[in-house]
Symmetry: C2
Subunit: 348 residues, 2 copies
């Protein structure tokens, strides 16, 4: 898309979305949000929400405009926000208040608040104060971006993304060792770790691979606000985990959680959201545990890395007859990723 | 690639390659070849080899130029041919002779004759008669196009292309029936049938699916010279095939071959080439037979159609531990195909 094909509204909203991405993986249980303040085609300030309890994107954009010396120009400006501004007191005062106070004349937002109790309320509050409001600009892109968070608000559970790497013949290991995926694919997987609040493996993976599950080579820089995602081990028997494994002994050991005997995933996922604020959970487990998540309908997104290689070994991706019925899949994209193929989509 | 990026030589050679494609699937055991005759930037005539025993591309291009009333202009013209012209007597007289006789001044060809006894001989014969010769234009594209035939000349066996359709989780059937692949993918599979000389299935596929293995919806029109590819059934026990199955009873039943107890595929493939002139064999068999072909190193090309769906049923693509060592795969491309993903490459 060239800049000539899109409107000024879209241009600024995509800018706000780009800014919002800087908060990806650090804002849970809040959503990542971006805001851009514009007047006469010039950018006055921009900001993103970085961490729960800290200022929202709108307030940071206003502060940024002031920092840049544009305070007097805020009156009559337009603010583009990726999500409907909050209009009620939470851990921080409502953004609608800050917008009204500094004299911003127009609010353009993309996605509406998924909480039906608040949905559209910003419009009323702002309009009553004489601020023009428009919504729905770049809604599709912003809705997609907010999908995990919207899911967590609506269901009270984390958005679960399964990451699976396999060969053309569906093997998850190479015959004689060595990495299956190429460096670029590993980087995609680390990017997903960066964007997630927790990463899950089974006891078997801990015993076999002894993974660290740390973010080492993501595609983008690691935000300074990012902390190590929770590392969750699901096991039948905690005592069977090797006492020397990385997850229990390394510098991030306090970020490891072990759960035993989880039968109903739905209830357990609800507790992860409620107790730990986990909005996005990434599965890096083996086929058996992944099958259980699929069987119980608890996988929302699917990221598959296919390495063009025929391995033919014993380690099959998802062995055996396991689904009572097919899962509908809504492809998002497939693309080259180094020498691999990356397939990503939503499971309905 | 725009026409401005490529030379006149390449432009005409790609034209010759396009013309050659019209013979794809009808020329075995000969190669598909195309020729274009050009003078002062104008096309005088073009032709392709259609069937073994019939005129080669060069003679058909000359005849086409004459038919178009350009006989007198042949003197001093340039002929572009995708493969080195033949210089010896076969079922038809040598093309070098026809080229010299009609006064063509220059021959440009892409690929050299893979038969080391003939390789480069056209150059000597033509040069001796005062015809300029150049070679190697669009060599890569023409070599790729001729790969199956070159393989058959060099090894005395058909080029074997495995076609496999599966879901993201490597299942080859859907839980409750229905086609796995989308219509566009089926069309790709029928195109491969069109381009092949024979299609192989196992007895089990015949008993379970009762396929017709006819060319019904290929991407391109079916050439008038195309006859039904051989339909080959490999089975442990011929008597176990249902007497009423389509392959043994339909209008094309005389194009079905049944082989029992084939152990060493290499020798058997040699006999298919020698006795039936099969240059390209397409595998549409199930996982067990495909595993045998892979184990014995007898698969040359791989076409995988991945349907973005999680089926989770019992029918796995290539179950079990079967390859003594990994097979190196050289990806040709992956692309969207309707709602599916098409992955194609060469197995080394």
């Amino acid at each position: 898309m060239s800049t000539q094909d899109i409107s000024q509204d879209e241009l600024w909203m995509y800018r706000a979305l780009t800014v919002a991405r800087e908060g990806l993986g650090t804002t849970s249980p809040n959503p990542p949000v971006g805001a851009v303040i514009v007047k006469d085609g010039l950018l006055l300030g921009e900001g993103f929400h970085e961490r729960a309890g800290e200022p929202h994107a709108e307030r940071r954009a206003i502060a940024n405009a002031i920092l840049r010396g544009h305070e007097s120009q805020l009156r009559g400006a337009t603010i583009y926000v990726t999500l409907e501004p909050c209009s009620s007191y939470g851990r921080t005062p409502p953004c609608t208040e800050a917008i009204i106070q500094c004299g911003i004349a127009e609010v353009v937002y993309a996605s509406t608040d998924p909480d039906t109790r608040h949905q559209g309320r910003a419009d009323a509050v702002l309009s009553a104060a004489g601020v023009r409001v428009r919504s729905g600009v770049c809604k599709e892109a912003c809705d997609a971006f907010l999908r995990p968070w919207v899911h967590s608000i609506r269901t009270g559970r984390p958005w679960v993304v399964a990451k699976i790497a396999c060969s053309l013949d569906g093997r998850i290991t190479r015959r004689h060792g060595g990495w299956l995926s190429c460096a670029e694919s590993v980087s995609e997987a680390h990017q997903l770790r960066l964007e997630s609040d927790a990463i899950l493996v089974g006891g078997n993976t801990v015993r076999t691979d002894d993974p660290a599950l740390t973010i080492r080579s993501p595609k983008t820089a690691i935000p300074k606000a990012k902390i190590q995602p929770w590392r969750i081990i699901l096991t039948r028997d905690e005592a069977s985990l090797p006492a020397t494994c990385q997850l229990l002994t390394d510098d991030e050991a306090q970020r490891t959680l072990v759960f035993e005997q989880v039968d109903e995933l739905k209830l357990w996922l609800e507790s992860l959201y409620k107790e730990y604020g986990i909005v996005q959970l990434m599965l890096e487990c083996g086929g058996n545990l992944l099958r259980t998540f699929l069987e119980q309908g608890m996988v929302n997104e699917w990221m598959q890395i296919v390495t063009p290689r025929l391995c033919g070994g014993p380690d099959e991706m998802l062995p055996g007859d396991f689904l009572p019925r097919e899962l509908a899949f809504e492809p998002e994209y497939h693309q080259s990723c180094g020498t691999d193929i990356l397939i990503r989509g939503i499971i309905r």
